[in-house]
């Protein structure tokens, strides 16, 4: 997986036992040899980290698990519906559930999210109606959302424009003094490893830095920007670049839901309390294709996929919860049944989404009347009305 400064996973080293005997270090090494924050090994063993820890109730542990399962299930519906011709496209999050659910659970209600286009898990965890992205990829509409009300902005397809919008929104928080108070606010924006090569991403970091904007840049490094692997995108990984922008950079096992939760909680609380922006690089893997239009067999091999499958974010967490007796088989069966229902209902809603009326094409473009567009809208209506028996 590349050379030089990039975050190569390297050989798997089981050093957890030896580490416990040493003094905690600032840069701890995880069970798989990477210098990232990891609280849960791929085998489902809970490990300590000197800088990050968590304190969750059993309900909170279960809530994380439930959202992981639902995110994966809704995502698989997306892939299936695309294969059935019900959706034009679907960008799968398979493999990235822990990065999304862990980070989303670390947010306060008032915090704002600016996603890219793969953040179905975050969307679900924020309580946004999951039919929204389905409508977008079905072509019924453009995935409209009242961003401020939902505390979740619309998907952004052009990489990484949303990091800019997140920064501006966070600058507004500074201007309004909504920092360091009980109702203080912070922003998180999601992007991929490919985004870190874009000029606008680097501008966003500059702006966030000089304005001490309360924004967390959450990079889901899923190893590939469509077919281009990390070594095509950068020589220095994004978390190490943070210092150059005057902010902390955190590196976390993106397949560890407890790790992503802990690191995000730290970063978002620092932002909310006025300490400014930070970067989180969640090291993860996109198990599926970039989108359903992609063919990953052309650019990556099975062995690599299998190595990552062994780090699956859900199975390790399930092992941990079962071992700790936080969940049991009965819980899993009930959850399965609940998730079946959620998936079925969603599928039916998606398939029954009505085709939009012709006139809807013109809606929302302008607040104030725009004479030229209004005229064209009237012309189309008149044209459609000219067909006998038209219901337009």
């Amino acid at each position: 997986m590349g050379t030089g400064e990039k975050t190569s996973p390297g050989p798997v080293k089981k050093t957890a036992t030896r580490r416990r005997k040493t003094t905690p270090r600032k840069s701890a090494t995880a069970s798989d040899g990477l210098d990232y924050v990891q609280l849960l090994t791929p085998e489902g063993k809970r490990v300590k980290h000197p800088d990050f820890d968590i304190s969750l109730s059993e309900d909170e542990f279960r809530a994380l698990y439930r959202d992981l399962i639902i995110a994966r299930r809704i995502d698989s519906e997306g892939v299936a519906l695309q294969r059935q011709g019900q959706l034009g496209l679907w960008p799968s999050l398979l493999g990235q559930e822990a990065a999304q659910i862990g980070s989303a659970h670390a947010l306060a209600e008032q915090d704002m999210v600016f996603p890219s286009y793969r953040e179905l898990g975050v969307l679900w965890a924020r309580g946004v109606d999951p039919v929204t992205p389905f409508a977008l990829f079905r072509g019924v509409n453009m995935g409209p959302l009242d961003s401020v009300k939902e505390k979740f902005h619309m998907y952004t397809v052009v990489i990484p424009a949303q990091t800019m919008h997140a920064t501006g929104y966070a600058m507004g928080i500074v201007k309004e003094g909504k920092l360091g108070t009980p109702d203080g606010e912070a922003v998180i924006t999601y992007h991929g490893d490919g985004a870190t090569a874009q000029g606008e991403f680097n501008e966003a970091l500059i702006w966030a830095g000089v304005n001490a904007a309360p924004v967390v840049f959450f990079c889901q490094n899923n190893q590939y920007a469509i077919s281009e692997s990390n070594h095509h995108q950068f020589r220095v990984p994004v978390h190490k670049r943070a210092a150059g922008f005057g902010m902390p950079g955190h590196f976390v096992d993106g397949n560890d839901v407890l790790g992503t939760y802990a690191v995000t909680k730290h970063a978002i609380e620092a932002a909310r309390s006025g300490e400014g922006p930070s970067i989180i690089e969640a090291y993860t893997y996109r198990m599926g294709a970039h989108t359903t239009a992609d063919d990953p067999t052309r650019y990556r091999d099975k062995a690599e996929e299998e190595a990552w499958r062994a780090k699956d974010p859900i199975s390790r967490y399930q092992t941990y919860l079962l071992n700790e007796k936080i969940i049991d088989q009965d819980y899993l069966e009930k959850l399965d049944s609940e998730v079946d229902t959620i998936a079925l209902q969603l599928r039916e809603r998606v398939i029954n989404l009505p085709n939009p009326k012709p006139d809807a094409m013109f809606e929302g473009l302008y607040n104030d009347p725009h004479a030229t567009v209004d005229q064209q809208r009237a012309q189309l209506a008149e044209y459609l009305a000219s067909f006998e028996g038209s219901d337009a």
Binding site: T156, M164, K175, E203, G364, A371
Partner: protein, 325 residues
């Protein structure tokens, strides 16, 4: 109350009033604070409204517009200053893909009341990238509004109207006119933002112009009057949407139309005006719509700019052509 002042001062006064009227309005751009902008449009505003309302930004145009979008989502009304026309392109993605489209994508749930001020056009002897006319890019982009004042009075009022609009507005400032003085009436109700204005009545032909070219058209009409031709002059003021009723009424009345602008000719505002007037006023026209524009070349070195920019004689020559039919 009416006062004579240069256009740059009128803009400054308009922005001042905007900052007073809208507590969540702000100005951001390069050098807009202590320096007051390279053209001094924002002179003294930071001193009076503070660094949070008149914000010196990093040298990053995409950032100026991109963060303005985020601020607008949060309820602010940002006015972005792009220092020169030729520097707007790094922000192009944020303007055409994000600012213009986001309200539409949200089905109107998200409004982006962002104004982007762009000093545009030549005539000041500057070097490359400092004299361009990029308005057609923005007129072609659905979701944006594009306006261009030509007088201090319009500058004063239109900037306030642009900031008050809940839609994104590209505000083209004719930089060669910054120091031209004119009366600003602080009390009289202004025209609606997207109205054209007949600035000289005539009967034999119509000159349609905007921004800096309005004065050239007026001068040409004055000269034509000495030759016994009565030319009407229309200041378009708004390029998107275009006030078609005013333009079409004049075309029907006079039967001859000449469109004048500095921007390159092909796929330009004049392309649209000529095509539309041909569609709508065909039976009233005595001649094809004539165009006097910049050439389809990059804005040339300054020793060439007087040849590139339409002047009185080129306009009169086009009028002659129109009368030859």
């Amino acid at each position: 109350m009416s006062t004579k002042m240069p256009l740059v001062k009128a803009l400054n006064e308009g922005l001042r009033r905007t900052l007073e009227d809208h507590p969540k309005s702000l100005i951001q751009g390069e050098d807009v604070g202590k320096l007051g902008g390279v053209f001094r449009v924002t002179d003294g505003l930071q001193k009076d409204f503070g660094e949070d309302r008149v914000v010196d930004s990093p040298l990053a145009e995409a950032g100026i517009v991109g963060t303005a979008i985020g601020l607008a989502i949060r309820g602010w009304r940002p006015v972005c200053e792009i220092q020169f026309d030729g520097f707007v392109y790094p922000a192009f993605n944020e303007i055409v893909s994000q600012l213009a489209k986001m309200p539409y994508r949200s089905s109107g749930l998200v409004s982006l009341p962002v104004v982007i001020r762009i000093p545009y056009g030549g005539g000041i002897g500057a070097i490359e990238h400092h004299c361009e006319s990029p308005e057609a890019y923005f007129c072609h982009t659905a979701g944006l509004r594009v306006v261009a004042p030509s007088t201090p009075n319009d500058a004063y009022w239109m900037i306030q109207q642009a900031v008050s609009s809940d839609d994104p507005v590209i505000f083209m400032e004719p930089k060669v006119r910054y120091h031209t003085k004119g009366e600003v009436n602080f009390d009289a109700a202004p025209l609606p933002l997207h109205s054209a204005q007949v600035v000289r009545e005539g009967t034999d032909g119509t000159l349609i112009a905007y921004g800096a070219m309005v004065q050239v058209a007026l001068d040409a009409a004055e000269a034509a009057a000495e030759d016994g031709r009565s030319l009407e002059v229309i200041d378009m003021r708004s390029l998107s949407p275009i006030d078609w009723p005013t333009l079409e009424a004049s075309a029907r009345k006079t039967g001859r139309v000449v469109v004048v602008h500095e921007a390159s000719r092909s796929f330009s505002v004049s392309s649209e005006v000529a095509a539309r007037l041909s569609e709508e006023c065909f039976y009233s026209l005595e001649a094809p719509v004539q165009r006097v524009t910049g050439f389809d070349i990059p804005f040339p070195a300054s020793r060439h700019e007087d040849l590139f920019r339409p002047d009185l004689d080129r306009v009169l020559e086009a009028v002659d052509r129109s009368f030859d039919y």
